[in-house]
């Protein structure tokens, strides 16, 4: 008669369908949190990488020297991120085409730019990997929670039908359990949506700085071709 209703009991006393919903939502929540943290690490590393590489690039260092440093880092099994990859792809292609005397200046520029574009899209893809999962969790998990709620309320009304006398005590646990499903759905969705919005704006910043850099770098290369 005096059973306290609390969240833990709600989870374990729920009907199998609602428990399945709880399980799905819990998994989604955990995975979305994994992605939130992992993306945060990747994106902040990319932002830091942009700053530090721009500093090195505009420090007046010789470009082939910069390229050699990168090669050395690769040999030391250090990860090369973001902007430096774009620079390396463009510079490599530029040097390779420059050594072939038959290729004219415009073709060299075109080749370098293409290489940079490929590297850029690879970098962008790396950065925005799994972000769409966050968007999916953010939009779908409230619906999953709602589904659990509907099933739970349906169950409690079915239970009510078998009772001769309708009291609140018969329906209340079922409805509480059902509402708890919605609560978990929102609990999974809210961080995912917030993180998705935040990370996509950070991604925009980083990719636009990549584009700016590749434009600047190609103008430098262009100058180098035409100065000779």
């Amino acid at each position: 008669m005096n059973e306290g209703l609390n969240p833990i009991d709600l989870i374990f006393d729920a009907s199998p369908a609602v428990q399945l919903v709880f399980l799905i939502l819990l998994t989604l929540s955990i995975v979305s949190w994994v992605i939130i943290v992992q993306r945060w690490l990747v994106l902040s590393a990319a932002q830091k990488g942009v700053l530090s590489f721009e500093q090195r690039f505009w420090s007046g260092m010789d470009l082939s020297q910069l390229y050699k440093e990168g090669t050395q880092m690769q040999q030391e099994d250090l990860q090369i991120v973001g902007m430096e990859n774009i620079f390396r792809a463009g510079f490599k292609e530029f040097m390779r085409l420059r050594q072939q005397s038959s290729v004219d200046g415009e073709a060299i520029m075109e080749g370098a730019q293409r290489a940079m574009r490929v590297a850029y899209s690879r970098e962008e893809e790396k950065l925005e990997r799994h972000l769409s999962f966050l968007a999916t969790v953010g939009s779908v998990s409230p619906y999953i929670g709602l589904f659990g709620t509907v099933i739970g309320i349906m169950n409690s009304f079915l239970g009510l039908a078998t009772q001769a006398q309708a009291t609140l005590q018969v329906v209340a646990p079922g409805i509480a359990e059902a509402l708890f499903a919605t609560a978990i759905g929102l609990f999974a969705a809210i961080p995912a949506v917030v993180a998705y919005n935040r990370y996509s704006s950070a991604l925009d910043n980083v990719t636009s700085s990549y584009i700016t850099f590749s434009d600047e770098f190609s103008s430098i290369l262009h100058r180098q071709i035409h100065s000779n």
């Binding site: 008669m1 005096n2 059973e3 306290g4 609390n6 969240p7 833990i8 009991d9 819990l26 929540s29 955990i30 995975v31 949190w33 994994v34 992605i35 939130i36 943290v37 992992q38 690490l41 990747v42 902040s44 590393a45 830091k48 990488g49 530090s52 590489f53 880092m73 250090l78 990860q79 090369i80 991120v81 430096e84 001769a164 006398q165 009291t167």
Partner: protein
């Protein structure tokens, strides 16, 4: 480029992220557990009505008057006895004084007549002896009387004590009966409350309806069976009463009752269902 952050981003930072995500969820789960324990601590319990033990110390004017009368009588007897004693003492003193006076006279007479003296002396001694004897007799009689009075007093006191003890025993028996009555009352109140909570009256219930259910119960508080001994005339009403009883059962509170109290009061019990608070 070899920042601490890069060290965290080993394997693209997945291990760290998984650990953090799991920690977050486990923390939330623990918070829920904590809330549960907190809510369990303050979960409401069915409060058993406390048995209020009110001893009625009766102020019986008749009894009190009787006691007062008794006391007054004792005092009177005492006073009488004292007066008697005083009187006897006075008599004795007077007698002694007279004796002395007579002895004086005798001595004078002895001086007056030597011959007559011996006879007179003899006679006087005889009288003195007789009087002495008389006095002794009176003394012993008085003592006997005193003893009788003391005896009577003692027996009366014993009687009073016995009566008081008897009264005390009667009072304790009455008290036991009263606590049993209180137990029965509190258990009945619990049953009533439980049944009332589960009773939902049908729309056809009207004021003045009355259904009486004769129920038989086991000492475990379970209801063996219930029979409608007096129908309200409305089958729905009767059924609702019966349903309420079966849903309120078992009455686990009855387990705590002494078995004799249970047998005397709850083995068979009739419950009256009346919708008193309805407007129509």
């Amino acid at each position: 480029m070899n920042t601490p952050l890069n060290n965290l981003v080993i394997y693209n930072g997945y291990p760290l992220s998984i650990v953090i995500a799991l920690v977050i969820h486990i923390m939330i789960f623990l918070t829920l557990l904590y809330l549960q324990s907190a809510s369990e601590a303050q979960s409401l319990e069915l409060v058993q009505p406390t048995v209020i033990k009110a001893l009625f110390i009766d102020e019986n004017p008749q009894l009190r008057n009787q006691q007062l009368r008794e006391q007054r009588r004792v005092e009177q007897v005492e006073q009488q006895r004292r007066q008697e004693q005083q009187r006897q003492e006075a008599e004795r003193l007077e007698r002694e004084a007279q004796q002395q006076r007579e002895a004086e006279q005798q001595r004078l007479a002895r001086e007056q007549a030597a011959l007559r003296e011996r006879e007179e002396l003899e006679r006087l001694r005889e009288r003195a002896e007789r009087e002495e004897q008389e006095r002794l007799e009176a003394e012993s009689q008085r003592r006997r009387q005193q003893e009788i009075a003391a005896e009577q007093e003692r027996s009366r006191q014993q009687e009073a004590q016995r009566r008081r003890q008897q009264e005390l025993a009667e009072a304790s028996a009455a008290e036991a009966a009263r606590t049993e009555f209180e137990l029965v009352q509190s258990a009945t109140a619990l049953i009533q409350q439980a049944v009332q909570e589960t009773w939902s009256r049908p729309p056809s219930a009207r004021n003045g309806m009355r259904a009486v259910l004769q129920i038989r119960m086991l000492p475990t508080g379970e209801v063996l069976d219930a029979v409608i001994t007096q129908s309200s005339g409305d089958p729905a009403f009767d059924r609702s009463a019966e349903n309420a009883l079966y849903r309120a059962a078992p009455f686990r509170e009855l387990q705590s009752l002494p078995i004799n109290v249970f047998n005397a009061n709850f083995r068979s019990l009739s419950l009256i269902f009346e919708p008193e608070d309805l407007l129509n």
